[in-house]
Symmetry: C2
Subunit: 334 residues, 2 copies
Amino acid sequence: MARGDRRPTLETVAVRAGVSRATVSRVINDQPVAGPSRRAVERAIADIGYVPNQAARSLVTQRTGLIALVLPEPSTRVFSDDQFFPRLIQGVSQELETADEQLVLMLAGSTASRDRIQRSAVAGRVDGVMLASLHGADPLAAALAKSGIPVVGNERVLGSVEVPSVGVDNRGGARAAVEHLVSRGRRRIATIAGPLDMIAGIDRLDGYFDAIAGTQEPVVAQGDFTRESGEAAMERLLDEHPGVDAVFAASDLMAEGAMQVLRHAGFRVPEDVAVAGFDDITRAACTDPPLTTVRQPIGALGRHLAAQLLNLISGNAVEPARTLPTDLILRDST
Amino acid sequence: MARGDRRPTLETVAVRAGVSRATVSRVINDQPVAGPSRRAVERAIADIGYVPNQAARSLVTQRTGLIALVLPEPSTRVFSDDQFFPRLIQGVSQELETADEQLVLMLAGSTASRDRIQRSAVAGRVDGVMLASLHGADPLAAALAKSGIPVVGNERVLGSVEVPSVGVDNRGGARAAVEHLVSRGRRRIATIAGPLDMIAGIDRLDGYFDAIAGTQEPVVAQGDFTRESGEAAMERLLDEHPGVDAVFAASDLMAEGAMQVLRHAGFRVPEDVAVAGFDDITRAACTDPPLTTVRQPIGALGRHLAAQLLNLISGNAVEPARTLPTDLILRDST
DNA sequence: CTGAAAGCGCTTACAG
DNA sequence: CTGAAAGCGCTTACAG
């Protein structure tokens, strides 16, 4: 079909099949239609290559068939190598598959793009929004929730507005990792924390505090989940706290960076300093030595996020906050 | 606004402002309206938090304000660390910004998702589609083009259907890199090729052939642009062609992998074996030694892609294939 | 099972 | 500049 031709409409199909528009509509929507009419319609649709106009459908059904996953990050971090987003997306897609909804990704790195996304969502361009890896009390979350469009957050959403969320047990996972270090006899356990404007950063640090409470002085170096920040943090730790005999990093990438710095500084892992991470990225099994870490079920996280959003869209009740369990994976670095 | 409330419509605003719906529509669309009416409408809009229903607008304007960037890859490769996609997206966004179009990313990793995306596009859910990093003669490109929806491809699109495209000078860039190796006196230059079902893979290999034509025997090891594939390819080269004194890798990641294998095998770069890459990823400047490579203007690529698509949507003429120049960046690895 | 008709919420000639 | 009216292309009670 050349551009500029008007696309065929329901009417075109109806005329060709010798039935009413209502009947064509019913065939398209899988509603009961007598065999002969059905076949005539299906044939006409195939002959002229009819595809229903989505705007017209949306106008009456109030549904678009589009679900947005909003990634509130500059695109460079979204497309990093920690495999969080691809796995999350895979889980989300899997769940959406069954609901015949199309996933669209929207990057909300700049203020302009955030405004645009907010307007899009409120204008009804999508049926619902999933917010991933929020920082702080993101006004986008509040604005969307207030406008009444279905929205769920990955991890608890900070701020006054209630937004249903699905997260993983960051705190429990971190506590388990650090308790394991304690049980191995480590007496001076430091942590390399993630960004403290994100739930994952906050909760993993709290888990560390939980585990050493009352028995050790906390030693905290700040990172931002990236490998580079892990290296820098480890250098600071070696400088300022030379007695440290174990490190719990709030991400595997930071743990990797820390191990490299330790090695270069002449320390053996785990003999001199034990290292544990968080995430269980693929590479964690093949670092030297293989990394003890906390596995979070990212695929399941994506599936639950999508499921909760679909519930919300259908008007079903949803839990305000669902938490998925994490697992301590023991390897040779501790 | 609680869920379930009907959102306000043009009518609501019109009544409140004491004007007709047409006037409200004109205010929203920035058409001439007398001062007092305009102010009354703006006020009413603000008071009740009115946002136009996008489906209704689309139905009459035949525009959605949505542009899709389709990434025909399993999400794991899209979210890799070669920085191609984030930079491309940044360029695309920049251009779209001016046109008031919202970018949505659609991942086309599976057959199911490809079908879904095709139907979405044809159903008019988006105003146009940009296809990135196509493999082979992708049927998605053909199907979209045939259905008449505006579509542009990143790199020439293989197959019978004509799809306008924007690409970079892969062949010229590769030729320049290999000619540089020749000029440095290298007499046995191998290449680690990219996937040969992609234009970038094919053209970079052809550039290599161009440069050594008639003077050296080609030595080709197959890779797939990833670092791991570069390592494997380099190991094979060392095994089967121990005399090689230079390697042109069709991606920086593969070049990195190759350099590591060379170092472990006891070869010095560039003294024993020179290595050149393609892409100029950020890390290329800080490898050991810094990598000679071909820089491709990815941001510009994104901008041109978006610009061509916008042209197509506006019904303007577009060049069938635009090629952006690449630059040889000399560093210490050659 | 099927059709005529109303209606979803906008935009846009057409008059005035 | 402004309004009444038609129309974009569907779905869905409502009758039959």
